[in-house]
Symmetry: C3
Subunit: 190 residues, 3 copies
């Protein structure tokens, strides 16, 4: 839902120049890299301001709109075809997974206003959470630790930890067994 109606640019010049540079790097150096070259792609993302923990696996055909607004803790996985559209910051906690063609959609337009302004808001994905293939997370949604958003589902509201959701809009389906380490460390939802 990037700016297509607004006749004025939605983003300042500096943002557009950075995105242009990042777009070129993505096409030439990031997307054609062999699948196991996770460290190389993490390096490229960090050059553009991303904060990445240990051994994050961002696959070559994943799309990150603004690396400077991406924060991953350790062991995060983002699959080929996944789209991280982050005019506002998006953060993924340790062991979070974003599967193929999933879509973290960090901005929309306020269609109640005549000028249709862009409205972006932060998305947070908790530890061990799984955004399944082709699922979509709307702007401002917080996905709790261990939550699962099923195949093709659309999360329009916050998802509670260790629960499984499906459908459009996503609704609670069943509980998920919390992973033992999580209980030991007393980690909680964001």
């Amino acid at each position: 839902m990037e700016d297509v109606i607004n006749r004025r640019a939605s983003f300042p010049l500096r943002n557009r120049v950075l995105r242009f540079l990042w777009g070129a790097v993505r096409i030439v150096l990031f997307a054609p890299s062999p699948r196991p070259f996770h460290a190389w792609r993490a390096f490229l993302l960090r050059c553009f301001g991303a904060s990445l923990g240990r051994d994050c696996r961002i696959y070559p055909k994943a799309q990150v709109w603004a690396p400077w607004n991406l924060k991953c803790d350790d062991f995060v996985g983002v699959a080929d075809g996944a789209i991280i559209y982050n005019p506002a910051p998006i953060s993924l906690a340790t062991y979070a997974i974003v599967s193929q063609e999933a879509y973290l959609c960090g901005a929309t337009h306020d269609y109640m206003k005549p000028h249709f302004p862009l409205v972006s808001s932060q998305i947070t994905i908790g530890r061990y959470a799984w955004i399944c293939a082709r699922a979509t997370v709307q702007p401002g949604v917080r996905v709790g630790d261990g939550a699962v958003l099923g195949l093709g589902a659309v999360a329009t509201k916050d998802l509670d930890p260790w629960k499984v959701y499906a459908g459009i809009p996503a609704r609670f389906v069943k509980d998920r067994t919390p992973i033992p380490q999580m209980q030991e460390t007393g980690a909680t939802a964001p």
Copy 2:
């Protein structure tokens, strides 16, 4: 849902030759063009018969199946990844927006008949209407002025003006405030 089962071609030779030429132009001249080159892409579409008003912004990764069946009024926006599949004409009125990966699907197959014939029918998108990211419009659907089809929704029936729809199939969610200029000019749904 282009022809894949029918053993005879669904389209006459002239159509297939034109689409082949347009496909080559799209790959070589349209898709690689820089994002701000809207006038260049409008020119290419017009060369293949599209009717486009003032300052339409068709982004480089948008896909138009048959430019000769595309009619846009003024200030229309079609985002990257949007698909306009128009064996029958598709029209977009002034200020209509089609967001990323949205799909205007202008044809289907009559699966009740043994030969599975292609059936295409016209889609019309009203003024100020917004087809959100990953949403789909089925063949023959008329989207009223100012209607909003939410993220990932599928419109199976006509959408009333200035109403917001979501889900599969798309259902009414809430009203949208009509944009003042529209009221002044007395414009109505198609």
Copy 3:
């Protein structure tokens, strides 16, 4: 939902080498081939172990994850943008159609287990069945002869023969008229 979280590879080395080779062939020889070159693409798939009957039409932008796990009977159609993700075998019976960007998703992860193991299971698509554009079939689902899975729908359970389904999850919508030849031969759902 290919392996992105598991720190150990989900697939043995031989599988990964074969997929690497097939990926190279796909990029260089398969995807750029002209649309009518169905026999050429069938030849390439067969070189990698696919079993294909007469006159199958696998379009150039279709994605087959593992040709050695693909079995098509006669006159099968797989459209551009369709994804056949088949760590476990996927079979399509005569006259089955998979439309644009449809997704046969043959594996998931067991999110109830701490190590999040990959779980793949066989998908079977019956004769004359139609998986419409952008629809998804979950692992292990059997789609009966002549069943129709509507635009953008997600099949989470087996689909009965000659019935039409829509929505997420897919629900029964109406009956489809069985194609006469089918009745004559007494063919039944898988």
